[in-house]
Symmetry: C2
Amino acid sequence: MSPRARKSERRTDALSRERIIDAAVELLDAAGEGGLTFRVLTERLATGPGAIYWHVANKGELLDAATEAVVASALAIGPVEPPASPQDGIRAVALGLFDAIDEHPWLAAQLATQLSRSPSRSVTPRILESIGRQVSALGVPVSSQFTAASALMHYILGAAGQNAVNGRAAGPDVDRGEFLDAASKAWKELDPDDYPFTRAVADQMRAHDDRAEFLAGIALILAGITTVHPPTA
Amino acid sequence: MSPRARKSERRTDALSRERIIDAAVELLDAAGEGGLTFRVLTERLATGPGAIYWHVANKGELLDAATEAVVASALAIGPVEPPASPQDGIRAVALGLFDAIDEHPWLAAQLATQLSRSPSRSVTPRILESIGRQVSALGVPVSSQFTAASALMHYILGAAGQNAVNGRAAGPDVDRGEFLDAASKAWKELDPDDYPFTRAVADQMRAHDDRAEFLAGIALILAGITTVHPPTA
DNA sequence: ACCTGAACACCGTTCAAGT
DNA sequence: ACCTGAACACCGTTCAAGT
């Protein structure tokens, strides 16, 4: 019963890097990047700023750590059991990231900007690895694997990022349907001479299903990969 | 010679929304998003903050305006003469944005985050229009044009954004070659069990040419589009 | 109509001091 | 080793006042 004897018990109220990161993710989820503040973080954790700086170098590192934690858990979901096909594997990875960004919209800016800010501790290798293994299994020649995997990764980050914006468009209180209606309407009111295409697809934009559209883009790239690099089976 | 008589002359020292935006772009180019401050902006323009707020609602609007200005000029370069083929047109648009983000790295985060923040005044339609026209010329059926154009746009934004990070990685004083060397080295030191793919492509990553790699991704997507939607010629 | 500049609330970060 | 909390420099924004 001495303090030393129950070393393995959790001191639930102790501050730790992990608890700080968890709280940071919560704040980011609740109010976006602007919602993560050392003031509210200290309040939430019932400490002073100095305590946080003991565990974390600065706000940038905290954001990186939060990003890494969320991405890691997003990519850990799929690979528990091997996919039926490389294509399925790629779709699983893609949807994992898509859903993560949908749940944590602040991830979009984070991934677009901080990615590989520093070579190590970056989240890029983790994503590239998950995609690359499937690309390799697809039979793409080694010399083209980096290109193919990168293309998929860039599409995923670009698309999911875009979607995060559509999701929480102008604050959490704006309905998604209303937002798409407004956007579609705005597109239709563009100058016919300058924007013939955009006006023409305004209806498709309003009617589209995010996930399906996202997967259709993946399918397009997969078709390109297998066309340029036909399986040698 | 009365003030009214030379109404058409430029008062070069007068403040205007345009001059503010120009100065903002300069500051962003010089020091990234952190470099754009109302303090240094007022100093540069020799005014007070109130003067700027007279022309611009807030910092967000200023960032949007800067983004719009840069994107507009980037997309205006290509379409002067019609491209030899739709594929060439798509490559021109893609490279225009790629180069713009390369020149103005802060654009990456801006495009990833602010894109279509508000339906109107957004820069999305401008990009989608430029791509969509070429997709339409490619013979893609109307019902799939939005999907194809979106896929291209998402890839372009994702890839160019990633590239912006690689370009100015850890500050302007870090050499690009050094950075790639360090990243490649770090990739090779990853755990062999967890990162077989990333380790295997570390050399390709270091050796790759950004523009060529970017265009190879475009080629992959174009191949996918023409495979899924073969021209009816 | 357009600009000035002091003032406000808030931010990330530091650091001497405690335990 | 870990935490406290006052303090610092800086930020975006406002607004009464000038012209």
